[in-house]
């Protein structure tokens, strides 16, 4: 029987198997990035910046030029690249420890300068790679290896909402928070990525897509239940949606 391939994995990706834990949604997000770059015809000329976190090795997965950045500094590295390779799609891929903790200044200032780059921000409410320490995004009550009694407001504060914070920065053009816990949301997430790269290629400024992601191993929850945990605990605190849209801004003008 004749057939069409309606879903082909590994688009924009090398054939290397991901090293992620079973059910870790880093993998889904990688696939979306690869797909969008491929579909927009950017994969042959894109330059990606890998950050430090579980995804540190993604330079072996994305099938384009990749530079590995110091912890938190990916937006600065991307700035350097973009300024000398203006016509290329430049993106970073960063965890919440990387972007919201050590790298907050670099992220905000890339947005502030209106750098024409796209940031893929993977918020799993924890430091995955180093073994499950508290992140700025860790939820109140969440136990981690450095919040053994559960995160408390007193002393460690309430979780940081990065997209909302960046929305106050004029140079941030496109900001959206998405989730990948079911096919419908995966599809929406992909749309967001498309818009983000589109924003960049049209020279409209800084774009960031925040992904609600899971860390089954360090959450200590089975992969499928992790998706539920994310829906029940993360999304209420980190509402999905568009926080900044260049088209909206233009209308408003």
């Amino acid at each position: 029987m004749n057939s069409d391939t309606v879903y082909r994995p590994k688009q924009g990706l090398t054939d290397r198997e991901f090293h992620y834990c079973p059910g870790c949604t880093h993998g889904i997000i990688h696939k979306l990035v690869g797909e969008v770059l491929t579909e927009q015809g950017l994969i042959g000329e894109a330059i990606g910046v890998a950050s430090v976190g579980c995804s540190v090795l993604n330079y072996v997965y994305f099938d384009c030029d990749m530079q590995q950045a110091a912890h938190g500094r990916a937006p600065a590295v991307a700035t350097g690249i973009k300024r000398v390779r203006e016509n290329h799609a430049v993106f970073t891929y960063q965890g919440d420890g990387d972007l919201a903790s050590i790298g907050l200044a670099e992220a905000v200032h890339a947005a502030h300068r209106g750098e024409n780059i796209t940031v893929i921000f993977v918020n799993n409410a924890i430091y995955g790679m180093t073994g499950g320490q508290m992140a700025p995004t860790t939820l109140i009550g969440q136990k981690t290896t450095t919040s053994p009694f559960g995160r408390e407001k007193e002393g460690t504060g309430e979780p940081l909402r990065v997209s909302e914070l960046l929305a106050t920065v004029p140079g941030a053009a496109y900001l959206e928070r998405v989730s990948v816990h079911d096919p419908k949301h995966v599809r929406k997430a992909k749309k967001a990525l498309e818009k983000a790269f589109d924003t960049q290629m049209k020279g409209k400024g800084f774009s960031l897509v925040e992904f609600i992601s899971t860390c089954p191993v360090n959450w200590g929850i089975q992969p499928r239940e992790s998706l539920d945990w994310a829906v029940e605990n993360m999304i209420p605190y980190y509402p999905l949606g568009v926080f900044k849209d260049p088209e909206k801004e233009e209308e408003d003008d």
Binding site: D4, Y7, P9, G27, I28, P223, L227
Partner: protein
Amino acid sequence: MAAKGRILIEEDRCKGCGLCIEPCPVDILALDESRTNKKGYTPLYVTDPEQCIACSFCAMMCPDNVITVERFKKA
């Protein structure tokens, strides 16, 4: 009911996480608890291939690039 399509499973990439299972609208996916793949995980299998509607939901949710989806052409 004849299959509208099928999924191809690159079995040795599968990590047995099960993320693909629930999204299947026709509920034909399961982990094969009877054996492990090269990696040591119990891999995905299709319980009733005839039912597949080639919706790609399983493939979209798979974090490990295990699943390819094909839709049969109406001859």
